[in-house]
Amino acid sequence: MKKLLIVDDSSMMRQTIEQNLGDYELEIVGTAGNGKEALEMVQDKKPDVVTLDITMPEMDGLDCLEKMMKIAPETRVMIITALSDKLTGLEALKKGAREYLYKPVTHEDLREGFDLLLNKK
């Protein structure tokens, strides 16, 4: 069972993501509403997989991702964001994200994202 951390400042989005985990061997070890909380949870809970929003208060997802890759570079990160420009997507991939989903995301999009994220080596 892999450990999952869900990071999004919207509780509705966190719930939507949680609803699509039934087919995966993932245990939710925490949820966070900003990058700062997320980093604390990464250090404390050591998740294998993280879903990460970008536009969040206190610390945004890109800053969080950069710091996360320094302390836990093996973490598989899937960005789920409304920022739909290519440059931001490329920046996230350069910083270490493995997958990138543009909001709005359907339940099918989320499952496809998890399929790709968990099957990648």
Partner: protein, 155 residues
């Protein structure tokens, strides 16, 4: 029609496409819009539940989407699957809707179009004040029989 007006109308269309895409993609029900109009300085275009985003970069201003609780309740039921969302859930959904509509505009304007995290509020806050030097356009929208406003102030 002057160039500035044409540019603004293009921007408004980008936002209209973005809000339509949000609802159509997630709920399979499209949005209908009425003709945009300029808001009077003292006109308050707010419904029960509002999500507002600040915009900076090469364009400056704000966008908000304001709708009734019933609209957000239906959206949450359709998308998240919750039958009885709390007021906080509906405010959260209002913020997320505005965030996605504004964030998707970057597909057209790239990362020079910067957005803040959403501010959400219920009703009509007394301290809400709009800038005097920015034209404010109101776009009435209707989704699933629910009427809402998308309001854009940009320069």
């Amino acid at each position: 029609m002057d160039t500035q007006q044409e540019q603004f109308e293009k921007t408004v269309n980008v936002f209209i496409n973005s809000v339509d895409n949000y609802f159509t993609y997630l709920t399979k029900q499209s949005v209908s819009t009425s003709a945009p109009y300029v808001k009077d300085a003292n006109e308050v275009m707010l419904k029960e539940c509002t999500g507002m985003i600040g915009i900076s970069g090469n364009k400056k201003g704000f966008i908000y989407i304001s709708g009734g609780m019933d609209m957000y309740r239906d959206l949450i039921k359709t998308y998240v699957g919750l039958d009885n969302p709390s007021t906080n859930d509906m405010l959260d959904m209002a913020g997320e809707l505005s965030n996605v509509v504004a964030g998707n505009v970057r597909q057209t304007y790239s990362n020079e179009f910067m957005i803040t995290v959403p501010i959400v509020f219920q009703g009509s806050p007394t301290k809400l004040k709009f800038p005097d030097d920015v034209p404010i356009y109101v776009i009435p929208i209707k989704w699933n029989q629910h009427e809402a406003y998308m309001v854009i102030g940009l320069k």
